[in-house]
Point group: C2
Chain length 311, copies 2
């Protein structure tokens, strides 16, 4: 039987710098290239050597093998040129079928979170550049009128979605596209995915923090991620219903059932992190019942090695 | 004018491993010794070279200069012997007046959080061994019946306390001594420091997570810390009153006033971290109004390089 910490570690699996075994960490990170934007001395992503070798780089990308760590420098005079260069290289890689993840092409860009101008990367390719992905997640819950016990609205993802088909998810969740405020993204997703009236979300959704982790997916994709997290307590008469094809259906689950599903690996890994944070904030997981409490809290709020603001 | 992130960074000031400038980090950490307990391969603290040179080590401590990183190994066959060895060396250092921090001797031990047996270190000397200190903090707040605005009960620490005299603090706060459950410690502190009835705390205090950071104090003390955090919403008719000599008095403050005091540096630094986490969890600081939101959340929940459970 897995523990909550096992589930957290499966998702937050980029190694931590451990002074005990610095060589293990170094051995892994030494093979990563650091991705730099024009006129910005801060790296915005790590890229595995395999991706560097495989990607059809153009002359807008300078591969500096002599630096330590090795650098991939995007050369472009304007944000427009930078965006065109990134789009071109990913489009070519997609046409040549070089990376499996590009089959999930969405025509939707992630803005590089800490960049000083609006540079975007197609969502399906974000992991190849190792940039921080940004999402908005909300847990919608109700309390029994008699027992005051929390029950959570849990969607099952449609079997036809490209990512995590059939898995359980946050009540409302979505990537935040470039140019959209996280809260506005949430309001829209709540309406589209869960049929929640815009007015209700605006009035009742509460910002409660963010969940951050650093995930390694296979040998090509690195995914540091930030999820802005919201809670919304609703009356028992409110019902969440699928509003688009991404969700198969919703069920109201007890806390015990949700924990069981998390431990069984039924949750989309990123969303498991969000519900675990919910359980901590609502006193369901505590230092009295969860041995790994402190590590769980730290790993669901990981300090990421890339800038998260433009300063 | 300082920012919230400035305040957080003043407290969470142990360097992060930055792949950009690994040498800065290494230069600092290379001078730290790692503290090992008997029969346990995991380090439980970092110790600056200055402390290693100054402390009157006995034969129960083996200083291994040849290892990398350098190790201070406690040699003792039993927990009792380990405790006696630590107590002896600290007591001698205190008598010889070798470290200023030992003037605050409390005759109260911190249990080493992740140790596999009950090993304790006198509170005033915890920073010299760089072990994780453990506390329980509660924010007691009320909501105006008319506006629903949050107001927070804020104590001013007595001018006669040894640490942070005259500063503002969490509504209830205390170090967790060895052998006491964090929640039981909180109930006791709430009664003693804030005159809160035990029954009220047991019924209304809610566990909401923990705040962790790594603080460097001068050239001798390292203080990684874990604070178990609780919220308690009370009616407007409940009043907090000093119950012992540690608190000068309590005032109910608006959120705006608390933020102003935090930015002015009037808060005990450790407790500023707790109230900042409160502001995040209650949607007072959000991604819409706080540019450094993601970094603030990560730094108030830092992953510590020492074990936090016995496994």
């Amino acid at each position: 039987m897995k523990t909550i910490l096992d589930i957290v570690k499966e998702r937050d699996n980029f190694p931590y710098h451990d002074c005990n075994r610095p060589s293990d960490y170094t051995q892994y990170t030494d093979n990563l290239w650091h991705f730099y934007l024009p006129d910005d001395p801060r790296p915005h992503g790590y890229i595995p050597h395999f991706v560097i070798e495989t990607m059809p780089w153009t002359s807008e990308f300078y591969l500096d093998l002599s630096s330590n760590p090795k650098r991939l420098q995007l050369l472009a005079d304007t944000p427009t040129a930078a965006n065109a260069a990134i789009a071109r290289v990913l489009q070519t890689a997609r046409e040549k079928n070089l990376f499996k993840c590009l089959k999930g092409w969405r025509n939707e860009g992630y803005r590089i979170l800490g960049a000083r101008s609006d540079i975007k990367i197609e969502r399906a390719g974000a992991g190849l550049f190792g940039i921080i992905t940004v999402g908005a997640h909300m847990t919608v819950f109700t309390r029994s009128r008699t027992t005051r016990q929390i029950q959570i609205w849990v969607p099952t993802r449609s079997m036809s979605t490209t990512t995590s088909p059939g898995m359980l998810d946050s009540s409302v969740a979505g990537g935040v596209p470039m140019g959209v405020e996280p809260f506005e993204c949430l309001v829209k997703e709540a309406r589209e995915e869960a049929s929640l009236p815009e007015e209700l979300t605006r009035r009742c959704a509460k910002a409660v923090g963010c969940v951050t982790e650093f995930s390694v997916k296979g040998d090509a994709q690195l995914e540091p991620s930030v999820k802005y997290v919201y809670d919304m307590e609703v009356d028992e008469n409110i019902e969440l219903r699928p509003g688009d094809s991404e969700v198969e259906g919703f069920r109201l689950m007890t806390v015990e059932e949700v924990i069981k599903r998390v431990l069984e690996g039924m949750y989309k890994p990123m969303s498991a992190m969000v519900i675990i944070d919910f359980f901590v904030r609502h006193g369901i997981l505590t230092i009295q019942n969860e041995r790994d409490y402190v590590e769980i809290v730290a790993r669901t709020h990981r300090f990421l090695p890339f800038p998260t603001s433009s300063e």
